[in-house]
């Protein structure tokens, strides 16, 4: 019975793998809000309403007027949006947030209203990794949520391996190191050993606010405030944890499979 039952079920349910990137990307939940946009020229003089509600001090006041917002620290709790009296911080609903440089996550000032999305690896690296990429994941004080949403990419819905990307068991087999968590002191040694065990050329991907900046644990003496001070990071994927589509977009962006510019760049060119 089982055989007939499963076969019938498979025929009825059809292909469960999403069309993306050849079709539309899955929608973020409406209350997620996606990437944030900051138009600091709309800030009221001397207004600090958003600064004091941010749980991770992601928002810093500028001396004159306005603020900067660091999406690498942001937990996407939306408290700042609620607190802002002038609508300077808005949700774009955009799942794309991965960047190549840490400073590209900092919003504020003309031209920097949104994150500056990641570009692909250089041609030489793309030649090596473009069609076959092996990743080793290390959780270093991660709470299990970013890890869970990385695992999700392996399910039938997302089917990461169709892009030639796979998570492997040994750092010896890996091209890239995917780090989650604020890097607890107790994982420092294991993390460095894992990185050292990988053959060059290799790169590092920081997934989630914790890995990028320490997230809510930033400043605790038991953690290192993210991976940045320890290893060179090639891709930052913000979120708490990042939605699977945000992670997938980051990986595809790195491999040059997704190239469309972000809204700010389009506006800039007009």
């Amino acid at each position: 019975m089982f055989l007939i039952d499963t076969l019938t079920h498979r025929l009825k349910s059809g292909c469960r793998t999403m069309k993306y990137p050849n079709g539309p990307a899955p929608q973020l939940p409406d209350r997620h809000g996606g990437a944030l946009r900051l138009e600091s020229e709309r800030c009221a003089d001397g207004c600090r309403a958003c600064v004091s509600v941010c749980p991770t001090e992601a928002i810093a006041p500028l001396t004159a007027k306005g603020v900067t917002l660091d999406l690498g620290r942001c937990l996407f709790c939306s408290e700042c949006i609620i607190a802002c009296p002038t609508g300077a911080i808005t949700q774009t609903g955009d799942h794309r947030m991965a960047v190549r440089r840490r400073e590209d996550l900092i919003l504020g000032g003309r031209g920097n209203e949104e994150v500056r999305l990641a570009s692909a690896l250089d041609n030489q690296m793309l030649k090596i990794f473009g069609r076959s990429l092996r990743l080793r994941q290390v959780s270093a004080g991660g709470d299990g949520s970013a890890e869970a949403d990385l695992n999700v990419l392996g399910t039938i819905v997302w089917d990461l391996s169709r892009f030639g990307i796979q998570f492997v068991a040994s750092p010896r087999h890996a091209d890239g190191l995917v780090v989650t968590g604020p890097v607890s002191s107790n994982m420092e040694l294991a993390l460095k050993k894992t990185y050292a065990a990988m053959a060059a050329p290799k790169f590092v991907i920081a997934v989630g606010a914790c890995a990028i900046s320490g997230g809510p644990f930033r400043g605790n003496p038991e953690v290192h405030d993210g991976i940045g001070s320890m290893l060179p990071v090639d891709l930052y994927i913000p979120g708490w944890p990042p939605h699977p589509i945000t992670i997938l977009d980051g990986l595809l962006r790195l491999l040059g499979h997704v190239k469309e510019p972000c809204a700010a760049e389009v506006i800039g060119k007009r």
Partner: protein
């Protein structure tokens, strides 16, 4: 907001307890917690555990140059908690572990954090202490003999999973002893709370164990509300219960899939991976975050389910429940799966009682132990699911209990989505009471989440103790592996699916 009565009514078994009784999610003035000399307190706790009590927390609070040890004991059958404290002391005390194994990690903490020496502790070593970028491991238990070999696994495992170290003593394939050494994920959460709460505290609570965000956020909120002597609005209680059951559904479904995967039964494995996501997306429908972050706050819930959202949730829930029903039917129908699950990693009821196991791991040993039923608070006073129990204590039982809980949580949600109370989901909290101890238990999907808070004279946190269910249950996994083939470790490990970060804090 309603004022709330904090005293529990004493009843038959517990009425003569020398400890003070209190109900779940209530507080008591610190000076009303009875004080004993530490030797006497250990004796009292022994007596209470011998007559059916269960150790929820056993931790230290520094005072002057000494430390007070605080106990929180649950009498599940009597639906009450009991608390007591020692006079401040330094140096040694008679170990509770010597007679009651469930205290062993608590006393290792007391030794590590407060330099109190539990005399007679059989295996005293650090829990999370750091040295040279790794936790201090000390000596592992070793079995000697020509045929004996040792297997060391971790901290970095072959998968996308948190780090921990497992040290097996094996004779051929057979595991004689497994020692589990954690601490790699230590982020200093409890230590960082002293003097708080701070701006990042709520977010830290949501990340104590990332797959139990609702459970820990609820426990923290409940303890805070107990310190403010208030109860949150009904609407918030209802929303919290919905979110907690969705969290249970997502994780139990994921676990069934992972168990199927470990015995190479791919239809259920692939289906459950997808359905788990459907449940996570229902949580995201409620609050935007797949793990429920940003929903539960002291005072209630930040977001509500409007009428449209409620209808959508009901429809999508039905679809996901139908799918998980189908996927698990394949699993239970398959003789090859049953053969791999049955008789593997058995923990006996007596062992589970001695170790103080909680959650599905305890219920799979036949223990009727569920905070929602034994110590109901908030919405669980009005709506309950039957406690899911299976007696065999093996991988099969742990899988089976999960499946029962998926069905019962599903049914509970179906009913509760139709009985929404009116009103606002949030009310601002009054100031917290100074010098008060409050305890909150929440039945997360892994089991009992226990938070204990103590305020100082300015209502700041003077001490905070978090006990994730994993803290009790890792010892259960170690015991389950005795006499098993080492190749059965993955499936035994999945059947418990414990948190590393929740343990390491």
């Amino acid at each position: 907001m309603e004022r709330r009565c904090s005293a529990a009514l004493p009843n038959a078994v517990t009425s003569d307890s020398p400890l003070v009784l209190l109900a779940n999610s209530t507080g008591l003035p610190w000076n009303e917690i009875p004080e004993f000399q530490i030797g006497d307190l250990v004796g009292i706790v022994r007596g209470e555990l011998d007559r059916g009590g269960r150790l929820c927390a056993w931790f230290g609070v520094p005072e002057g140059s000494g430390v007070r040890v605080v106990c929180v004991i649950a009498f599940d059958a009597d639906n009450t908690l009991a608390a007591g404290r020692s006079a401040p002391f330094e140096g040694a005390f008679p170990s509770l572990t010597a007679t009651h194994a469930q205290a062993h990690l608590f006393e290792r903490e007391l030794w590590e954090q407060h330099h109190l020496m539990p005399e007679g502790h059989p295996w005293l070593k650090p829990v999370r202490r750091s040295s040279g970028g790794a936790p201090v491991m000390d000596e592992f238990f070793r079995v000697e003999g020509r045929e004996i070999h040792e297997v060391a696994v971790g901290p970095v495992h072959a998968g996308i999973i948190e780090p921990g170290h497992f040290r097996f003593q094996c004779s051929g394939e057979e595991v004689i002893h497994l020692e589990i050494a954690l601490g790699y994920q230590h982020r200093g959460i409890e230590h960082g709370l002293v003097g708080g709460p701070r701006r990042a505290t709520m977010s830290q609570m949501e990340a104590v164990a990332g797959d139990s965000s609702i459970g820990h956020a609820w426990a923290y909120s409940a303890v805070t509300e107990a310190l403010a002597v208030t109860e949150v609005p009904l609407r918030a209680q209802w929303l919290r219960a919905i979110a907690l059951e969705l969290e249970r559904l997502a994780n139990h479904t994921g676990d069934l899939g992972a168990l199927a995967n470990d015995v190479a039964f791919l239809p259920t494995a692939s289906a459950c991976g997808k359905i788990r996501g459907d449940f996570l997306n229902l949580t995201a429908l409620l609050c935007g975050n797949r793990f429920g972050r940003g929903l539960v706050r002291p005072g209630g819930c930040r977001l509500d389910l409007g009428p449209d959202r409620l209808i959508q949730m009901g429809e999508r829930l039905e679809a996901a429940l139908a799918e998980v029903e189908q996927a698990s039917a394949w699993l239970w129908d398959s003789a090859s799966v049953r053969a791999r699950f049955e008789g593997i990693g058995t923990v006996f009821a007596r062992q589970a009682t001695d170790l103080g196991l909680v959650g599905p791991a305890a219920r799979a040993c036949g223990l009727v132990r569920d905070v929602r039923y034994d110590h109901p608070t908030e919405w669980y006073r009005f709506a309950q699911a039957p406690v899911a129990v299976w007696p065999s204590g093996d991988v099969f039982a742990r899988a089976r209990v999960r499946w029962f809980e998926i069905q019962r949580s599903g049914q509970l949600l179906r009913e509760q989505l139709r009985s929404a109370p009116d009103g606002d989901p949030f009310a601002t909290l009054p100031v917290l009471q100074p010098e008060t101890l409050a305890v909150a238990l929440v039945e997360g999907w892994r089991g009992e989440i226990c938070h204990v808070a103590l305020t100082d004279s300015e209502s700041r946190l003077r001490g905070y103790k978090i006990v994730d269910p994993s803290f009790h249950n890792w010892s259960g996994l170690a015991l389950a592996m005795r006499g098993q083939a080492i190749s059965d470790f993955p499936i035994c490990n999945k059947s418990f699916n414990l948190s590393y970060c929740g343990f390491d804090l």
